[in-house]
Amino acid sequence: MRQSKLAIVTTSEHLSATDIAAFIDGSLPFADRARAELHLSSCDRCRQELAACARLTNSVPSAPRRLTTWPLIGFAAAVLLIAVVLRPSATHTDRAPSIERASTTASARMFAVFPLGDAVVPRSKLRFTWHRDDRSSGYRVIVTDASGGPTWSEDTPDTVATPPLTVRFDAGVRYFWRVEALHLDGSVAQSAEAPFRIGAE
């Protein structure tokens, strides 16, 4: 029997893939969403699926942009202009020696501290550190492999995160990490992605 055009969500039936997707996108009609929330509040199976799919949807790596010659030249010219004409004023800070300048978001920058610059780190000593963001209510560390696939992530209120030894990192393989800071006003600051490798113990 062909499914009706109306979303049918009952409290006893498990949610369909279509319902889960519509819930994530916020496109369920109001009454159906309320029924779905009632079901999800007591159904571990559907709720776990919803959480996993929401996490996946929000973490799909974006496609790398293919740079052609002319836009690259234009970008280089813009960088040169900013460096020569709009020099940032020097201010005293107590930054650690090996800081990688972060890419800016609309609101703020984040500074990753270590590991940086393709550093080689023994697995047992792998620990991520970054500078505190005074406007932050918490941080999220995200580690991916070279293809952008998720390897590990953690939410923390600290400025250091250590992946448990149960999380596997292969020796010699290049990984990338970045840290996001959640601000109280809802904005997010993010560091640049920094590469590192796992070395011998």
Partner: protein, 219 residues
């Protein structure tokens, strides 16, 4: 009404009107557009490279099966973005393949699930220390009984919340979803609003437990 991506429209149109060569070309274009997403899903189910590639291949086979039946069903009644729907369907297909090979597991990692649940209990009880029942079975029947009473009291307190509020707490503490993901999923203005709402709910649960006479972790 959700607008279909061009790659899907062209694929389904080629399926109806064009020859095999055109269908293959449109299918390759569709796969190229969505391969990153599908690989991302496959890797989430298995971190083993070979298993993930098997799962990715299986997903493509299933999407193409029966004259693109799944994609046709989506196109006939699109209620979400294609990318979101692909994540859900691909994940289900990957799990189906995994279970066929390795059997149905016990669900989420039991140990981590218990420890996450214990975090909720600890936070609500503000110093109360709910132990897993099996770990205290050797400590006497009276202790076990008291532990069970504490568990029931927390479950009863959770039942006083609205479904929406219960869902917020379960996503946060049972599924370990980040505040940012919860904010997007449940339409909170920001992750900060999620934190604030969770804290308010924990306070409410605490007061409910106190009203029911649960004042100490000591059984």
């Amino acid at each position: 009404m959700t607008v279909l991506p061009r790659s899907l429209e062209r694929l389904l149109s080629a399926h109806v009107t064009a020859g095999v060569g055109d269908i293959d070309a449109e299918w390759r274009a569709f796969v190229a557009e969505h391969t990153r997403l599908l690989l991302h899903v496959a890797r989430s189910v298995s971190t083993n490279h070979d298993e993930a590639m098997d799962a990715y291949t299986f997903v493509l086979e299933q999407l193409r099966a029966d004259d693109f039946r799944r994609l046709q069903d989506f196109a006939a009644d699109p209620r979400s973005k294609l990318s979101t729907w692909l994540v859900v369907v691909a994940r289900r297909l990957c799990l189906d393949l995994y279970r066929r090979r390795y059997g149905r597991n016990r669900g989420p990692n039991s140990h981590s699930h218990r420890s996450i649940r214990r975090r909720l209990q600890d936070l609500v009880a503000d110093g109360l220390d709910f132990h897993d029942l099996p770990s205290v079975q050797g400590a006497g029947a009276e202790l076990a009984l008291r532990q069970a009473e504490l568990h029931r009291a927390l479950d009863d307190a959770l039942a006083t919340l609205t479904p929406h509020d219960r869902l917020v707490l379960r996503l946060r503490f049972d599924d370990d979803l980040s505040a940012q993901d919860i904010a997007r999923l449940l339409d909170f203005p920001s992750p900060f609003h999620v934190y604030r709402h969770v804290n308010a709910l924990l306070g409410r649960l605490r007061r409910t437990l106190e009203q029911r006479g649960v004042e100490s972790a000591v059984p």
